[in-house]
């Protein structure tokens, strides 16, 4: 897996300065073209928000600029001599939690932006909680607006303590916490000359050295969920899909699931031709020794195998207006497999402020909780914490086809 591409998502509460920080990062690393910068300047002046409102770099929708908030994720791209970045600038408002989850779901790293003068808000805790559930392990925390308290060290240390405590309880690696002023650019790309007590990395330096490629691998077993069957000129078939989990190699013993047929990989072809082995994240088609009736929705897996089951126990984040409760019928999409599903029970809800679970019978919009689900077809599932691809699913409203929930197989616990 290439490490020269880092995907990060900015998370945190509304008005704490996420878009401004991303704007600052892009401007100070000279990622913006002259005409784009001129357009941001013109829009800022038109709306009377000063010479250059950095948030307008990513807040590109008419409604966002009118209201001064981020509604949906903006994706931006940046390159430094060290690596390339895909940046998902997520909305902070609670109403747009589904959009935040969209942006964070593929992130290697979460860049948490919080207002150091206001402490750790409930919405920041919610975002941290979702990022943690989504399997993001690495946090870079920009303690923003330090200019408003004249770079008071005590203010920073108080926030640092709260962040470390929450990060520990949610199972994150020890975060890198940077005091910054996004507005003035201190410690974002350039070190601040205003503070004497911080000698850690700038936000950019932390991003340049953060671990990449986490989402695709972390599991011992290789997985190839079959997307499509290709017919070969000789009459045989090969199975196309994207590898996850770990490397798949020619000669490797695999099991076709849910059928349970053991077979061997006899050929792998990637986008650039035949390969002896292929890493997670690559789209390939493979040839197997047995003549099977494998098709879309099946998976080729090496040991340790996924669990084949019709009953899943999962943590879901609910996005629809109407609450989720037992007895609801939905469609569930897991890897390349879609199946009707019944919600058997909602058992508990996460209290994002206390970081604890309480008993519940329903989940309202933007709540996270534990559910049990029965599916019409058997699924080959992994625990989300060991494999993000094999452990994730979405729930879909059968009438409108809207995606109404993000699901992670297994249960969340708090330290």
């Amino acid at each position: 897996m290439a490490t020269d591409l880092l995907r990060f998502a900015t998370i945190g509460s509304v008005d704490d300065g996420k878009s401004t920080l991303v704007g600052r990062l892009l401007v100070d690393t000279r990622q913006l073209f002259d005409d784009q910068l001129a357009a941001v300047e013109a829009a800022s002046q038109k709306r009377g928000v000063g010479d250059l409102d950095l948030s307008f770099v990513t807040d590109g929708l008419r409604a966002e600029r009118e209201q001064g908030i981020t509604i949906d994720v903006a994706y931006r791209y940046a390159a430094t001599p060290e690596r390339k970045f895909v940046i998902a600038d997520c909305p902070g408002h609670v109403q747009y939690t589904a959009n935040m989850a969209t942006g964070a779901s593929n992130a290697d790293v979460a860049l948490v932006v919080l207002d150091a003068t206001a402490g750790l808000k409930e919405q920041t805790r919610r975002h941290l909680c979702i990022a943690g559930l989504l399997g993001v392990r690495h946090l870079i925390v920009a303690a923003n607006k330090m200019d408003l308290v004249d770079w008071d060290e005590a203010t920073f240390r108080a926030v640092e303590k709260d962040v470390n405590d929450v990060a520990h309880r949610l199972g994150f690696d020890t975060p890198i916490i940077v005091p910054v002023s996004a507005l003035h650019g201190d410690n974002v790309v350039e070190p601040s000359y205003l503070n004497t007590w911080y000698d850690g990395p700038t936000v950019l330096a932390a991003l340049n050295s953060a671990p990449a490629g986490a989402w695709a691998s972390s599991h011992d077993g290789a997985r190839l969920p079959i997307q499509w069957v290709l017919r070969q000129p000789g009459g045989g078939r090969t199975y196309a899909g994207m590898i996850n989990g770990s490397t798949l190699s020619v000669g490797q013993k695999v099991r076709l699931l849910p059928a349970g047929v053991d077979t061997t990989i006899v050929g792998i072809r990637g986008p650039r031709g035949s390969m002896d082995s292929a890493e997670p994240g690559l789209s390939v088609d493979v040839d197997i020794a047995e003549d099977t009736s494998a098709g879309r929705g099946d998976v080729l897996a090496s040991e340790p195998f996924p669990t084949v089951t019709n009953e899943i126990s999962a943590t879901v984040c609910w996005f629809a207006d109407a609450p989720l409760s037992a007895g609801q019928r939905l469609r569930l999409k897991h890897t390349s497999h879609s199946t009707p599903a019944f919600v058997d029970a909602v058992t508990s809800v996460v209290d994002v402020d206390q970081l604890s679970l309480t008993d519940a019978e329903q989940l309202v919009r933007n709540e996270i909780g534990h559910v049990t689900i029965t599916t019409a077809d058997p699924l080959s599932v992994d625990d989300y914490r060991s494999n993000r691809v094999g452990g994730s699913f979405v729930l879909i409203d059968e009438k409108s086809n809207a995606t109404v929930a993000a699901g992670m197989i297994g249960h969340v616990t708090f330290a």
């Binding site: 020269d4 590109g60 903006a74 995606t403």
Partner: protein, 298 residues
């Protein structure tokens, strides 16, 4: 062979193409003959090799074409054995579906009607496009699979959540999806990939001598659709095109870059974005692209 970020982008795009084809009944690939759709077509070929691409391609034809691009389009269709659907803006004008902007008027916005009419007529439920999020601030907000209602409209305030790589493509009859497999590619990624893969391109992307006039700070190619007006002077310059669109409003850039290496070097040091350099249609207002997209534009 080590994987680099182009390999990751390539595999991700192939994954998206396969997923949409598997989930949708009648996909189509929007093929303008521009570099992004050329890359998209190349990726679609890879996604289904050794089988043929299992869907048609559609050209939304404004009637204001660069001949080199039409030649290129036809050569690709022949070589790859594709079915070509042409959605004609001229036809929409002739049928009175859209107002006639006059022989020299801008036709970019009119493409929306021709595109949506063709999507309805052919009952396409997914249309692949080569749009990239780095092109424009409204595109930067759009999902990889972007839902369109029965009126073809995009609602940026109510996009479907799109988590992980679980792209779900179900739509009800009359609705459709736009699918953007190149969402996370930058202009430079596209050019580096074209060089790596030897993707064929129309000749107008490479520097050549051409009669041009300067209008609205852009170099427009003098020809059937652009005539000098009010004291505009025809000059001859070495130019190339950074994007391919309607010939009446797509600007050329002064350039001597006549090889892929030279083009990539030029883009790496450019101070102006590709749309800023070449598209008159984005200069009307702050949210020109968002407004067009809401109506159903690419």
């Amino acid at each position: 062979m080590a994987t680099d970020h182009l390999d990751i982008l390539e595999s991700h795009a192939i994954f998206i193409i396969r997923e949409v084809v598997a989930e949708c009944e009648r996909p189509v690939l929007l093929f303008s003959g521009g570099k992004d759709s050329a890359v998209l077509l190349h990726l679609a070929t890879k996604a289904f090799a050794p089988n043929k691409i299992p869907f048609p391609v559609m050209h939304v034809d404004t009637g204001h074409n660069f001949q080199e691009v039409i030649d290129y389009r036809d050569e690709r269709v022949d070589t790859l054995g594709l079915q070509l659907v042409v959605a004609s803006v001229q036809e929409a004008i002739d049928k009175g579906r859209v107002p006639d902007p006059g022989p020299l008027g801008m036709r970019n916005r009119l493409q929306t009607t021709a595109l949506l009419d063709a999507i309805n007529a052919h009952k396409f439920d997914a249309a692949f496009g080569g749009a990239r999020r780095d092109e424009d601030k409204a595109r930067a907000k759009e999902r990889v699979l972007s839902f369109r209602d029965r009126f073809g409209q995009w609602d940026p305030r109510a996009q479907r959540p799109e988590l992980w790589q679980l792209y779900q493509g179900k739509v009800n009859p009359g609705e459709h999806l736009r699918a953007f497999p190149l969402s996370d590619w930058t202009e430079l990624d596209v050019w580096n990939y074209i060089r790596r893969e030897n993707v064929p391109l129309p000749t107008i992307y490479f520097a050549h001598m051409r009669p041009v006039i300067k209008r609205d700070d852009m170099w427009l190619s003098v020809g059937d659709f652009v005539h000098p007006q009010h004291g505009e002077v025809i000059e001859r310059h070495m130019v190339r095109f950074r994007t391919v669109g309607d010939a009446s409003c797509t600007g050329a850039v002064r350039s001597s870059a006549d090889t892929l290496d030279a083009i990539i070097k030029e883009i790496e040091t450019s101070n102006v974005s590709e749309r800023g350099a070449t598209r008159a249609d984005d200069r009307f207002s702050e949210t020109a692209m968002e407004d067009r997209k809401r109506e159903g534009y690419f």
